[in-house]
């Protein structure tokens, strides 16, 4: 287990280096001159002299390799450049907006887990009854609704028409309801069906009928065998969901005026604020790597076969 952990941590380093290079290169391949973007984001007049001056100032006249090397060496001292729009260090601005996004994503994630397990279990347990059919209908509708449309729909019904929840911004618990639901519903819709299927797959595993043959109660079989194995199978998927939730708050934050990195990033894209975009992509990609690592370790820890793979319990 420890060997696996150290191996995986070492493997993260080349992944991040490669990732940073790809992100850097990708942004350089995008058409448009960063110097012009800088001037327009800083609301400065775009003249020939100004472009020339900024090109030299930003080091854009150097080769890509030189620029990358200089970016990496700054990044190693936690200096990821300054925003074209505000002139503030990117990392500081990002850290200012990030907690709001994390809050939104973590709440959505918890709702997704609970609903997926609840809805998936209910439709597997009461399969081919109205419970199962209604959950299927919910899944089809939930998965087919684009989130911008779902967000506006919820906003229109619960905020504008019924006035139950506020329409935007952050503050009380009520402010969380609509954005969290908009973020969570598509994932609940997709993964509750997946969970149902994995529960039904567990049902077919050979030790399930033996569990019945030795007279265990249905409750024990459900909780200790079926649900347990179903959740274990769901674990890798949940890691991906957490990554998507963190990276997928763009639309929701814009609809509900949520002061998070999604909205900040959206502005940065519109203004072509290269340092911000570059940093955001890098952070989200690193988060994906980290979440994947955590899920893999958790899975290995929960699966005794992996836990005892090397140097574990001796065979007698």
């Amino acid at each position: 287990m420890l060997r696996m952990l150290s191996w995986r941590l070492c493997a993260l380093v080349p992944s991040i280096v490669l990732l940073s290079f790809v992100v850097f290169l990708a942004l350089h391949l995008i058409p448009g001159d960063p110097a012009v973007a800088y001037l327009s984001a800083s609301q400065l007049p775009i003249t020939e002299e100004a472009i020339e001056r900024v090109t030299i100032e930003l080091g854009l006249d150097r080769t890509v390799w030189e620029q990358y090397a200089s970016w990496v060496s700054s990044a190693l001292t936690m200096d990821f450049g300054t925003s074209y729009m505000t002139g503030e260090p990117v990392i500081e601005e990002f850290l200012f907006y990030f907690p709001a996004t994390v809050e939104l994503s973590v709440w959505a994630f918890l709702i997704v887990i609970l609903s997926v397990i609840g809805l998936g279990s209910a439709s597997a347990y009461y399969r081919k009854t109205w419970v199962d059919y209604s959950s299927r209908l919910f899944s089809i509708v939930g998965a087919s609704l684009p989130s911008f449309w779902l967000g506006f729909l919820l906003l229109y019904v619960f905020s504008m028409s019924l006035g139950i929840f506020p329409s935007g911004n952050r503050g009380t618990v009520a402010h969380y309801v609509l954005p969290v639901l908009t973020l969570a519903i598509p994932y609940i819709a997709i993964y509750s069906r997946l969970f149902r299927t994995s529960l039904l797959e567990v049902e077919k595993l050979p030790w399930m009928s033996h569990a019945r043959a030795r007279g265990l109660s249905e409750k024990t079989i459900w909780l200790k065998f079926q649900l347990r194995h179903g959740v274990l199978a769901l674990l890798p998927v949940l890691g991906i969901v957490m990554g998507y939730l963190l990276a997928g708050t763009f639309i929701v934050e814009n609809i509900f005026s949520w002061p998070g990195v999604g909205r900040y990033m959206m502005n940065a894209i519109v203004q072509r604020d290269y340092p911000v975009i570059q940093f955001y992509i890098l952070v989200i990609a690193c988060l994906f790597l980290l979440i994947n690592l955590i899920v893999d370790l958790l899975q290995a820890w929960l699966d005794p076969r992996q836990r005892h793979q090397k140097g574990g319990v001796k065979h007698v």
Partner: protein, 259 residues
């Protein structure tokens, strides 16, 4: 002890196990002989009422004057394991691979008896010793045991509940000679000392001969021959049993006449 009347398994369109009747007295052992696909495992599953849709089970299985086919799930639960012990052919099917053997034994014992964890653990360990495993195997995960050890742990699990009838579905087919002997001796000793009844499913003639007094021969879901071991070994009437005995001689596992 157990009385089976016209037990049959079918789907909407096909008869998978033709109506079959037999009974097993206390302390008696009968064998079910047949090739792969003859319906042996299906018969054991039907006895335990473990088949579900689309398979339909007809007929009655009467244990201590109780017809299992009309019992609720909860009532069946107390019969399974407690009265009818089941040893499957596939040793990987016995335990959940993610939990320790001891934990699963204790869980099973406590599903049937009102007892403390400590007491259940003691019973489980005694059972493990009975099948010549060690106390430390209690703390092992199933994947840490070999096939033979796993089958013995499975037997320990079955006997920790002290069943009256053991349904053993080819329990020794994939095992080495030593483990095979341990398991067969244990079954025979339980029969001798505690009056255990056994339904022994196998396709190995030599094992069947050692274990049982009466045999049912299945072919394609149908009982083609039945009788005492001596009678069937000496004068097989069905083609199935004749060819079975022939192949066993070829394989060196049996003889045509009394050996």
């Amino acid at each position: 002890m157990i009385e089976v009347n016209n037990l049959a398994v079918k789907t909407e369109t096909q008869m998978l196990l033709e109506p079959l009747s037999f009974c097993i007295q206390k302390g008696e052992s009968i064998g079910v002989l047949g090739e792969s696909g003859a319906g042996k495992t299906m018969l054991t599953m039907a006895l335990l009422q473990l088949l579900s849709s689309p398979l339909q089970v007809e007929g009655s299985v009467i244990v201590h004057d109780q017809d299992l086919s009309v019992l609720s799930n909860e009532q069946l639960r107390s019969v399974r394991g407690n009265t009818l012990g089941y040893v499957p052919q596939n040793v990987q099917a016995i335990f959940d691979p993610y939990r320790k053997i001891g934990v699963q034994m204790v869980e099973t014992i406590r599903a049937h008896e009102r007892t403390t964890k400590r007491e259940a653990k003691r019973t489980a360990m005694a059972s493990l010793r009975e099948v010549q495993l060690k106390d430390e195997h209690y703390h092992f995960f199933p994947f840490q045991l070999s096939g033979g050890m796993l089958q013995r742990a499975g037997m320990a699990l079955v006997f920790s509940l002290q069943p009256e009838l053991v349904i053993a579905d080819e329990p020794t087919t994939a095992l080495d000679k030593e483990t095979k002997t341990v398991i067969l001796e244990l079954l025979l000793r339980k029969q001798r000392e505690e009056g255990l009844s056994i339904l022994f499913v196998s396709h190995e003639i030599d094992v069947i001969k050692k274990m049982v007094t009466r045999i049912l021969v299945l072919e394609n879901g149908k009982c083609v021959e039945r009788g005492s071991v001596d009678q069937l070994m000496n004068e097989p009437s069905s083609d199935r049993l004749k060819s079975f005995l022939h192949y066993e001689v070829v394989l060196g596992r049996g003889t045509m006449k009394n050996d």
